[in-house]
Amino acid sequence: MNHHPLSEVKRLWILGAVLAGLFSLLVAHYYQIQIVEHEKWLKEASKQHFFVVKEPFRRGRFFSNTEVKIGHPVKPIPFVNDIEKHHLYIDPQSIPPSLKKNIAEKLKQALDLDKEEGEVLKKQFLKKSRNRKVASWLDQEVKEEILMWWRPFARKNRIASNALYFVADNQRSYPYGKLLGQVLHTVQTLKDEKTDQSIPTGGLELSCNRYLKGCLGKRRLMRSPFNSLETGEVLMSPENGADVYLTINHVLQAIAEEELEKGVKKCKAKSGWAVMMDPYNGHILALAQYPFFYPPDYQAFFNDPLLMENAKIKAVTDANEPGSIIKSITLAIALLANKELAAKGEKPLFSVDEKIPTDNGKFPGRSKPIVDTTLHHFLNFDMALQRSSSVYAARLVERIINRLGPEWYRNALQDIFGFGTKTGIQLPAESWGVLPLPGKKHPNGTFEWSTSTPFSIAMGYNIQATTLQMLRAYTVLLNQGKRVDPTLIKKIVKEDPQGKQTILYEHIPTYTKVLDEDICARVLRGMKFTTKKGGTSRKADIWGYTEGGKSCTAKKIVGRSYSETQYIGAFLGVAPINKPAFILLVTMDEPEYGYIAGWGKNHNGGTCSAPVFRDIARRSLEYLGIPPDDPFGYPSGDPRHDPKKGDWYEETESLMRLYEQWNRNCI
């Protein structure tokens, strides 16, 4: 063979050039993939090999106020907590039709479903879907039981193991059950699909929702049979919601609920509520309402209009005519009027020892005279409080109107005691109450304030106030003339994923000085007589402790007139009277009307609510560790009983003698 040396070299050059060209193309393509389109292919690869899952966050919790018990360890006690539960899903398209019935039957047993629920479950397997939720909020034990059966079953029948799977979720859980149900409320079973946030149903869950919300975290997982779902790179840590530290103490709340339930059942009332407040800082220590609201059963309450009534907090939403409880306020305003007139250099309105006639209840503008439950001919300041005289209170207000005018009286009710203004409690739907305004008309065209209105207000009618408004008004008397707004929240604390705490809100009480100390002290002195001999609320006498208070028996408006059989019976009390640990208002809505031999008029506040006050107060004082300050003030039969050594004995006896002297001669 004859080879031309040049042509061989030429071919080699051509081959080399072609290979070099191809290699250059390869390099160029490689450059395009690795450098120019780097991000694109990285994303594509990540998509194929990794996936991102959401990390659930914990919604903020509510904690009890454990600082009220002095000298005891303070530890956080939650009223509500998020507990991890599991939702069960199936992938019907991955399950062979021949096995669907078998699997459904097994799940029906494991989930303890009845026949009807079992049929619904079977239908889920027939859906043309890749994911159907078949059970919600399952416990860890149930999940493990199902997986123990499922894994070998799926292997044996060659079904994809993720044809049945669980998704973890945090469920709102209540370790103390119904305790504080109305105040806490709850969240809906289903969360917002877009944000994965819980939807509150009311109460503090609703009003604190913006603090309780958290943020979902993100975790990147590799698609690999060896890669467990629980491991992977954390892209973003979940951010838990802020925790709310309440002013309510769990034990005081439990005591109030237990005694209230007993009290409502005993007097056969429609419902009842009790609110306990620290008069110095406005902390609500207990807020009980019966019938109770059990948060996990919220749907049952919302589907029944009668039950729905029990889901709201009546102490905040319902403004009622306060009745005789307002008389202490009326008398305080009369004492203030005395000072006002003295400052002008005028004669005082009255004296606390003045013998004021109370047998004539006729007042300007009233078609019917005001009558007391028992006819009293003459009363003084202490007797009027002790015996709850409406005529005495109205007579003082008559003098106020005549000397200072109705505007002055109304301003005192609003500016000093806060009637007609909201308390600002951190709960939804708080009522303003009603304080009539001169010149303003009702929807029916009649004036809110007529000639007779101030006399009605003097005894607690023609004015409406919520329980919290009444408690706030009384803080003026208990706090040396300083008014304090109530609060349910002490502080709100946010903890970041690194454990660093930030206080988002802290309650600092604000005091408004509105009344002189001597006026407050004088009214409180008078309130001590109500639970003693001759008083309307002897059943409120706390064994071993001093107390003071005021009861009310207010007729309810039914239709357009006052009912003769439907009442609000309430008692507002303070204990111990010299250094109050709390102020407590117990209200019974529609106690059974009538007289019970040996017990008294059942619908009277001094009969239906006063004993509940006594029992809640005694147990609460013992829990708080407050030593008895009336060591002889026990019921007869108790070895400690000695009425002559009991608190306020001399003063009560002296007042009784004076009362009999004034009124016996008139009979």
């Binding site: 002095i70 000298g71 005891h72 006690i77 939650p78 907590n81 507990i83 991890e84 860890q140 859980s173 370790p175 103390y176 059950g177 305790l179 467990s228 629980e230 491991t231 992977g232 769990h250 034990v251 709340q253 439990a254 005591i255 609920e257 237990e258 013992e622 829990y623 708080l624 560790g625 407050i626 030593p627």
Partner: protein, 106 residues
């Protein structure tokens, strides 16, 4: 190249061979130790997610148990227990009977 004089001298010297052997040994040991440490590190890296997982499970279990303890210690339940005769000896402790002892300064 093997015929080179300096190479022969160097190659035949016993001290040099021993030195080379030592160097080889040291290098091999270092490499072995490095690989072994690397293996331990990888093992630990594999264990971390598993430990994280079990830690997470323990935390959840702890939360669940704490929830059950809280249920048992609910004030309503404790008050029920208090009514039973075996606990009737328990009396409230008043503030004036509580002595607070300050902790010694560390």
């Amino acid at each position: 190249m093997l015929d080179c004089v300096w190479w022969k001298k160097w190659y035949s010297a016993p001290g040099v061979v021993a030195a080379m052997g030592m160097v080889m040994l040291v290098i091999s040991s270092e490499v072995y130790l490095y690989i072994s440490a690397n293996n331990d590190l990888i093992k630990k890296r594999i264990e971390i997610p598993l430990l994280q997982k079990s830690l997470k499970e323990l935390k959840k279990e702890n939360e669940r148990l704490q929830y059950e303890i809280n249920q048992f210690e609910s004030p309503a339940h404790l008050m029920q227990l208090l009514h039973q005769p075996e606990y009737s000896h328990l009396k409230p402790v008043y503030q004036d009977k509580v002595i607070e002892i300050p902790l010694p300064r560390s």
